[in-house]
Symmetry: C2
Subunit: 408 residues, 2 copies
């Protein structure tokens, strides 16, 4: 009588089960141009000194520091200018007592010089250089290796390639870098009533919602979605489609998980792999299946678009981020404490994910069913009602998970 | 004597100046597959009813509700099963008194039926359907247009296309959508000492850092970087390169802004466009130029990599996000209040952006110069020391801007 869930589990147990699956992580090389926000898959050591030579860190005059001792506004030192060296050029002369070489920021330090007087404290009067301030030994010189020495560790596996990290890789002349590959995720919609967007909408049919919303959700987790089309709710079609996409890292289907839909996914998994979870004590999202085929994890999400996305956010997204090595940045668990604007009735015996809109610093429950994708589009976040709680009173403080933290 | 900045401005005045420039925003069409996190450039109205027909929202039996009144566990009602309709199929029969049609979630409601009894409250004994619970009128039916009516507003220009919003567009069968085009940003490195990564590092030369770190930074702002190579610090080369890339929306150069580098960018802008800013009273970043050529904004960043990125984060990024219509999500201004681990000396007469590492809930200043890209790679954030403050005492509370909020 009615739907049978073979392995119904509490949400916390499902999370633990997924935490214990260690997905295989692939590594690939990308150019720095394509490395933005990828996750480093190798430790990087300096292969050169930085700076690679002694260089001027200011515009000014390279001098023998001792020549300038005692120089001041009232008592300038006069030096002979030997040449002018811009960044990128090589000095041809040596600084000797009583002489100087003009250098730009970034220019190599001429032999014999051991300090730079900033141009602000000098004056060039027809080739005679007046020095109005003393330079100490090493002043305004960035010595070879002073920022980083060849062989020193620079970046670590697991770090995010933000602009500064990519700058570090550029500084040592790296052209490409090893990063964790983006897991490939096949997305399959199942349902006899589901049609593609280039078809005409006939009576009894609806446009496929989940393929595109899941494409976006999968991208949010640093994975590459592979849109794999729509299949009918038949054992043969679902089996064929799953066999077709087994070269990906993870498979996500939606629909076809309830008794009414023939529960075809469960049967296919029973025959070809393992069913790990069949039914989760949550609302929305009860008819969720999690299984394995050929070491690939397969998530069978409910067909209802809100249920599909909520199950995605709560259970699938953390798993995908783990696979993409993105946990460090996820921020999924940041919540906002807000007061509930009205009494809320929750499902009996199941954890409920209740959508809310935030207005006037209050959380307003959105009372639409999980078939209504517009409910999620209106929502700012959700709160979780534990399975043993049925009523939350108006004005209670709740922890709201923000949807904007779930999508990047 | 020394560097001359023609139009040196305080940081707040530069921000105001940039706020007042209204960049032109281009619009383009993208497929839903490519719409992830793009910004909607049109208001979207429903072109169909949702659901598009009366449909079952549960698996069960479509009945005349009045047939079931009074039904209970102890007192079931017996109904004749006419047919079974799965989602995607069309009923061929009409429900009359004493009969029912089995329907799956999503199936069209058969004529004559006005309620669905969930399958959990029924039993099928050899084709005879026992109903153990009463259905009220409309129970478990999602009526045509009950979620959204044709013509109603769905989404607004300026909204982010998160998975749920893309789900809404899918629900009404949209294949493509108008979004604000990603601004194209040319990135030019200038400097005689700068070489590309495929060149051998010769004495006096350094690898180009800023091109790739700015590519990443520009992507963080929802813009498309166009790597435009390295030019020498010569008037002719800079002029030619800028003329070459004028089909982009914004130009960013780095290097070539100081007196020692010949200040070529300022001269080029003086002759071909306008210099709006020449010098900002900040550290690092003083030798920054902002100008316009042919209605295109051009940012001339300092050559030092840390200075280039800090000026980018503080001044350029908000402008790019405005151009990309991404202000709503920027979060640039979220700060963390932390205690400073040691006394900090700041630049006289300039606002200072001081990098810090966060450890043990304290902000530890990073004391490297702005030539050291590794300083930024080690940093978690920065705090701003106002220009009239020279010393911040150990233990003072400071507001730390987090670098991870600046890159997405």
């Amino acid at each position: 009588m009615g739907q049978e869930f073979l392995k119904i589990m509490d949400s916390e147990d499902v999370k633990k089960l997924l935490d214990n699956i260690q997905p295989k992580r692939r590594v690939e090389s990308v150019s720095l141009e394509d490395a933005h926000m990828r996750v480093l898959a190798e430790d990087v050591y300096a292969n050169i000194n930085l700076p690679p030579f002694d260089r001027a860190s200011m515009d000014g005059y390279a001098v023998k520091a001792e020549d300038t001792f005692g120089a001041s506004e009232d008592n300038p030192v006069l030096l002979e200018l030997l040449e002018t060296i811009k960044a990128g050029y090589i000095p041809t002369k040596k600084v000797k007592k009583g002489t100087c070489i003009e250098v730009s920021t970034g220019a190599p330090i001429p032999h014999g010089a051991d300090g730079i007087v900033m141009i602000e404290f000098t004056e060039n009067k027809e080739g005679n250089i007046y020095i109005y301030d003393s330079a100490h030994m090493g002043e305004n010189i960035a010595y070879e290796g002073s920022e980083i020495k060849k062989g020193e560790p620079l970046l670590n596996e697991g770090q995010f390639l933000t602009p500064d990290k990519i700058g570090v890789l550029s500084a040592i002349g790296m052209r490409g870098v090893k990063v964790f590959a983006k897991p490939k995720v096949a997305i399959i919609s199942t349902g006899n009533e589901i049609i593609e967007h280039d078809k005409e909408l006939q009576y009894g049919k609806i446009f496929d919602i989940n393929s595109q919303s899941l494409v976006s959700a999968v991208k949010s987790c640093g994975c590459t979605p592979i849109t794999s089309g729509i299949v009918k709710d038949s054992y043969k079609d679902v089996l064929e489609k799953i066999s077709e996409v087994l070269d990906v890292d993870i498979i996500i289907t939606s629909g076809g998980t309830s008794a009414g839909a023939g529960d075809v996914l469960r049967k296919v998994l029973d025959d070809t792999g393992d069913v790990l979870v069949h039914g989760i004590a949550v609302k929305p999202g009860k008819p969720t299946i999690i299984g394995m085929v050929n070491d690939k994890v397969i998530f069978g999400l409910p067909g209802y678009p809100v249920a599909a996305l909520m199950v995605f956010y709560v259970f699938v997204a953390p798993f995908l981020r783990k696979m993409a090595s993105l946990e460090i940045y996820s921020g999924d668990n940041e919540t906002l404490r807000l007061k509930l604007s009205r009494r809320y009735h929750s499902a009996r015996g199941r954890s409920q994910y209740a959508l809310v809109k935030i207005e006037d610093n209050m959380a307003h429950p959105i009372l639409k069913d999980s078939g209504a994708i517009t409910a999620l589009a209106e929502a700012d976040g959700y709160f979780e009602v534990p399975k043993n709680v049925e009523i939350i009173q108006e004005g209670s403080e709740i922890e709201v998970y923000l949807l904007k933290n779930l999508v990047k």
